[in-house]
């Protein structure tokens, strides 16, 4: 079991309120991602759940039990840190065994669990090495190993992949997702990378300045962002926002349209905008075209499938899928 409930949780550092009153429920077995820009309070929130920071007010419940004043070691949670936080003076085996030894488990049982974790994480050959002799990816596996052997109620990850290179990051992302499918244990995962959030999460919690902007499945957030902040944060490349006259005619202060919902079309065939091509990014599978000179939105990004023959300075005509246009009022709230 691992149902975590936050009730009116707040956190202040001195006079700085990092988390204003916040309510959130994380269901048992869910993969929840906290996503938001750097400094928005994601780590603080995770650390409050872990017990590494004390709440200023409010309650935290794990499986119905109030753990607000219970120390981290008694909450039954395991954490994986961005910096790995392995014990540098212990071998990999000792690192993984540490929580078991602290729990007073007998040695035979310890070894069974270590072997199982090492096999699952491809660490069997490295058990006798020190963390200093491992690559970043291997260190992160050890950190994950140290977390899974304990069989925790929930896993907490704080940007665990940020220190890895891009290729490794994609691989580890998949591994963590697979681990979740297999273990079915609650996981809370903090990241500033919306791609990680979209690809891994059952449920995404978008945070800004400690406030929950929206909670929902990745596709809910993609399809119906509650406000302009979420709309701009989720999706890559970023949604195009258009102010001014065009938005006004649709009864909104600002309208938003994702690059994949804008097309290049021949002149006079439903074109809404006209502009000049700036940079075109050719990825092979897609082409991202940045179009300049459009009223209220400069540049507008267009995602064209496959390879597109286009040059800097070309004039293009753009149309949008009108049913995919998001409307926002002057405060950035969604209007429907």
């Amino acid at each position: 079991m691992g149902r975590i409930v936050l009730e009116n949780v707040t956190k202040k550092f001195g006079d700085l309120e990092v988390i204003p009153p916040l309510n959130l429920t994380i269901e048992d077995g869910e993969f929840v991602v906290f996503v938001g820009p750097s400094g928005c309070g994601k780590s603080t929130l995770l650390r409050l759940i872990a017990g590494l920071e004390e709440v200023t007010s409010g309650r935290i419940l794990i499986d119905g039990e109030d753990v607000t004043n219970i120390p981290p070691s008694k909450r039954g949670l395991a954490m994986v840190f961005q910096t790995y936080a392995l014990y540098p003076h212990m071998s990999v085996r000792k690192n993984i065994a540490f929580p078991l030894r602290m729990a007073g488990m007998n040695e035979a049982e310890q070894n069974t669990r270590i072997e199982a974790a090492a096999t699952a994480l491809n660490l069997t050959d490295y058990l006798d090495r020190k963390p200093g002799q491992l690559s970043g990816g291997q260190r992160q596996r050890v950190a994950i190993g140290r977390a899974i052997v304990r069989d925790p109620t929930a896993f907490l990850f704080d940007e665990p992949l940020s220190n890895l290179d891009a290729a490794l990051r994609v691989g580890m992302r998949l591994e963590i997702s697979e681990m979740h499918k297999k273990l079915k244990t609650t996981m809370i995962y903090v990241t500033h990378d919306q791609v990680e959030a979209m690809t891994m999460a059952d449920k995404i919690v978008v945070l800004q300045s400690g406030r929950v902007e929206q909670v929902g499945s990745p596709l809910d957030l993609y399809r119906e962002p509650r406000n302009a902040f979420v709309a701009g944060f989720i999706g890559s490349p970023k949604m195009n926002f258009i102010d001014g006259e065009k938005a006004g005619t649709l009864g909104a202060h600002t309208i938003g349209v994702r690059p994949e919902h804008v097309q290049i079309c021949p002149k006079g065939e439903g074109d809404v905008w006209q502009g000049k091509v700036g940079v075109a990014e050719h990825l092979g599978s897609d082409t991202f075209i940045h179009v300049h000179g459009i009223d209220g939105c400069d540049p507008m990004t267009v995602r064209a499938g496959g390879e597109v023959k286009i040059n800097h300075g070309d004039t293009v005509y753009l149309s949008a899928q009108m049913d995919q246009i998001h409307k926002f009022d002057s405060e950035g709230h969604r209007v429907s």
């Binding site: 120390p71 954490m79 840190f81 910096t83 936080a85 392995l86 014990y87 602290m102």
Partner: protein, 278 residues
């Protein structure tokens, strides 16, 4: 290129020469003292016999046979060792708490501790002597010396340990907390192994400070707990009559600490530079 290399070589040589000169300047008094310790008191005061004399071990024999050198040495060892242990036992938890669970006042506490070092010792000489002698009855005991030496060194020891502990990433301690380690376990399993070098340097320095302390060890003892500092003091004659004897006593007092320092040079440098030299 050539010119640059030239200058470098020149400055390197001159730096070496300068370093040796400064080194010799500092070492000369000790060298002179060691030489003097092998002279008779009569020869010792005559400058013309600086290098030309017949070495004698009389001073050392006299010192061990008539002046109870070994008892003073034993007292020095006992007080320094126990004071160091006591200081660490108090200092490690204090520095740990300040490094990993700082409160708003932690910086002030650290400054305050250091400021206690600014009180002139002479200012409390009378109360210290009076209270310990007439009131507490602990004058001239090992207990008193250990207590005083510990308290004198505690501020610097806490500062040093604090600096070393600060270098340990906070996440490692937090990982320990998540892994279910108790506070004592945290200190024993994580903190001490990770800060071992720093703790050793601190202990060594503390031991040296205790060994060398002279103000209180001389004034708070008579015979029972008297240390080597007291032995030197006791052999000091203002007229300079017993230079040979005094030198032998002094050499025998600083000898152990110089040998210790020599063997632990690396640790000491690390300790004095707060780990800046790795």
């Amino acid at each position: 290129m050539a010119i640059v290399a030239e200058t470098n070589r020149f400055s390197k040589t001159s730096r070496t020469v300068l370093a040796w000169l400064v080194g010799l300047l500092f070492f000369f008094p000790i060298f002179w003292m060691i030489l003097t310790s092998f002279k008779t008191d009569a020869v010792a005061v005559k400058p013309e016999f600086l290098f030309s004399f017949t070495p004698t071990l009389d001073n050392y024999i006299n010192m061990t046979e008539n002046y109870d050198y070994w008892r003073f040495a034993a007292n020095s060892v006992i007080t320094s060792v126990f004071a160091t242990i006591f200081t660490l036992v108090v200092g490690i938890p204090s520095a740990y708490a300040m490094a990993f669970n700082p409160s708003r006042r932690t910086k002030d506490v650290l400054m305050w501790m250091l400021s206690t070092k600014m009180l002139p010792a002479a200012a409390v000489l009378y109360p210290m002597t009076f209270l310990t002698k007439n009131f507490l009855g602990i004058f001239d005991t090992h207990f008193l010396l250990i207590l005083v030496l510990s308290l004198i060194n505690l501020p610097i020891v806490v500062w040093m340990l604090f600096t070393y502990f600060k270098e340990i990433p906070r996440e490692i301690i937090e990982a320990g907390k998540m892994d279910g380690v108790s506070t004592w376990g945290e200190v024993r399993e994580i903190l001490i192994p990770l800060a071992w070098g720093g703790i050793a340097s601190t202990a060594l320095l503390c031991f040296i400070f205790c060994w060398n302390e002279a103000y209180w060890t001389v004034r708070l003892t008579t015979t029972e707990a008297a240390t080597l500092s007291k032995l030197i003091e006791g052999n000091r004659a203002p007229e300079g009559l017993f230079f040979g004897r005094l030198s032998a006593v002094s050499a025998a007092a600083v000898g152990p600490i110089i040998v210790l320092g020599w063997f632990c040079q690396k640790q000491l440098v690390q300790g004095l530079t707060f780990g800046a030299v790795k």
